[in-house]
Amino acid sequence: MITEILKGMFITFREIFKPPVTIQYPEVKRPVRQRFRGRHELRRYADGLERCIGCALCAAACPADAIYVEASENTDEQRYSPGERYAKTYEINMLRCIFCGYCEDACPTDAIVLTDAYELSAFSRKDLIYTKDMLIVPPPAGKPGTPQKVEEGAYNRSILPEGLVSEP
């Protein structure tokens, strides 16, 4: 019996010299896996226009019915995205989202992407409905945000050439 106790004590003693597996969250954060799925963001093109065209396919694909999209029409005076259609309202209810990433798969323009961010807490349920303002990324450095006033007829396709190639 005494040998068993010593054996156990030995293991404990041995572990003392190993580095700890726990980390000091939130001061220290663990790197996430490459394919981790966290909070969404809405991307932009290099010229600052929004990729999202308000097609609501993400909302259709979402098994948790977490997304709500309302589309509206672009004009060259007030252009949000290429083509005729943009998302006037875009909301994700983070309480409902199950982070399956189907919305990302459904998106024809690679606009909605799940990022690494996982710190999704708030003091009220309402704050966990992420609106378009919260989801959209800032325009690239030196580029205007949206809406933009653009040259007439310059953006009559719903997708820019760079959108035709899926990003890695």
């Binding site: 097609c55 259709a60 309302e70 029409e73 005729e84 259609r85 309202t89």
Partner: protein
Amino acid sequence: MADLINVYINEVLVSVPKGTVIVDAAKKLGVNIPVFCYHPKLKPVGMCRMCLVEVGRRKIDRATGQPLLDANNQPEIAWGLKLETGCTTPIEEGMQVRTQNEVVKKAQKDVLEFLLTSHPLDCPVCDKGGECPLQNLTLQFGPGTTRFDYNDKQHLDKHYPLGDIIFLDKERCIQCARCIRFQDEVADDRVLGFYERGRTMQIDTLSEPGFDSKFSGNTTDICPVGALTTRDFRFRARPWEMTHVPSICTHCAVGCNLTLGTRRSARDRQWEILRVMPRQNEDVNEIWICDKGRFGHHFTRSQARLTTPLVRKNGQLAEATWDEAIKLVAERLNVVYGHVVGFIGDRVSNEDAYLFGKLFREGVKTTRIANRPHVAGADLVQKYGVGSGTNLGALGKGTVVLIVAGDVEETAPVYMLRLRAAAQRGAKLIVANARETKMDRYAANSLRYKVGTETQLVYGLLNAVNQGSGIRDQVAAYTPAKVAEITGVPEAEITAAGKLIAEAKDLIVVFGDEQPYDIMVNGQYTDAGRALPQACANLVVATGHAGKANNGLLSLWPHNNTQGVFDMLAANGAQWTPADGLKALYIVGSDPIGEGQTLPKSEFTIVQELFLTETAKQADVVLPALSFAERDGTFTNAERRVQRYYKAIAPLGQARADWEIIRMVGEQLGLKWTHYLTSEGVMAEIAATVPQYSGTEYAALAQVTEAWPPVGSNDLYFGGTAYDNRGGVGVQIKSGVELDGQSEMNWIEPPVPSAESTLHVRQLNRHGTLIDQSAVYQPRLIDAPIEPAQVLKGA
């Protein structure tokens, strides 16, 4: 039907009437032959080649004219060398059709691959995506890939306004010409056409202003792709996000069946109607609606709607609670026993009108209710209206339709489509009016009479028919020669029209109120106003055309429920007697002051309304009512078909349904009305107590029948996007004659016009409280009653 022909489709026998095309025959069997350009309501053109099938015909022995038989005693079949278009090929006896073999499948794949080479494939931003025949057929019959280089696609204008409401995406159009053909063949507004050739062939509008038609919205439904979109619905929602609720149009007396596409916005948590589409009812509107019905729904969510009861305090209307308002109303109605008068508009539902009548009969103990606005002849239509089983879509050879003093397109647009189609099937139209109307184009006889002489003309026709036992002496004076003199219509035309009527197997008399006389003066119906309806009724009775299906009177009522409100008031014995020195006036769904009339003097006025109308502004209590989309109810259309509509969106504010408000007042007055829990309960009582309305319980109204052509559901063939009927086709109630078999003729001396008589003209696109709320429809609305040149005066 006689003349059934036997054909074999994929080896299965089907018997269909002679003249049926292959795609229809296949559909009867449940076999889908994909189509794009073919549409069951339009003539086949064979433009898209999507419907290719392999056809075999019997070999015929030239000597005997009999089919050759093979060893098994079966007719020998010669299979065609080329595929044929199933939409243009009529079936023949013994024909064999293959729709699913390899050759046909290959052809379908090729046609689709070819169509898609010039299609932008932008389904994600396309309004049709999700209910698109091109999407559906590509998935079911098309190739998975293409040999076409994406970069070679041609780019055309994606935002081309054809008119004020309809936009064209030139890339998406597959040149099926359904829209053009609808405008030409059904609406008879030839405002669309193709220009250019080959790959750049495009649709354009030929009219100025663009797409000038009252039926333009229908093209967006039947377009098999998303090439045509409406300003109203463009990008507002994807089809699958909406809840589709059956409803009834409230803009005219046709009572078109609608499907309301609704959604609750996450932004403001409000339900709203995003689009209005036709719902198939082959007895009423087939699959069409007019633009006013399609775009005139915005009043249901107008900011101007009343949302709380208002009570006048210190001279100002101020918000109040329901309790307070209802108590006040009941108090005023109660105290002044007998000095109360009710006004009810003809847009409210049957339930509302019935309870209002009952409230007056039992609660207020008076029968003094006026139907507003005044119409003459509702009693005659109740009695001699078109018989139950009438279907304008079935009229053809042997039917004569006499249209007097009404502009069908302006008053009841969809009847214009249906009567025109009837004329094309062989029905004869006699169009009599003081001015030219669109119906004149389809008339066998156009009779243009002098303003105000319509009644004389009707008697002239009756005289020419040489019937009319009860009033023979009076009619005898109206010989065609004399009537020709009075009306200015040549005698020969009167006799010719009379001959048509005399020979008619079925006769429908459609009358409007485009005449110069006042229908009501000092609260009494005038003889001048009633003369025309009475003359029409006499004509129907004298010629023996009352009380039968496809026979009788049809009135172009000014509003959606004129007949129903009349019936409900009549059932409660309501009568209008003029009065002044009133203690209370109770007005429901009517705006006499806004219409330029004066109200009788009253100490206290109650108004039940959607909006703060001119009349409501003068009221002491204003009670907020619900629009048709926020409640259940029924309307009775001009053909006396009782139709049910359903609650589609949540009520606005504290507003309540008219019948519910009336019930609250009734209960406050001490009536035991707790059993009216729902509008269904009210209708059940109507069905049980009003003889003509028996059989109109909600459950009966919700019955649907199978209809041809099949649309909606999983149908890919019909092409366009229409909704099948899941809300009920309604019940056409019996006319009085059918119930009691009694008919009589009465004589009202035809009024004589003065030089001052000006025609009252009805126009669809006049400004109005409800339609003014639709911003999208504003460009179509007109101020002037009619172009000055057309303002017609009496002789």
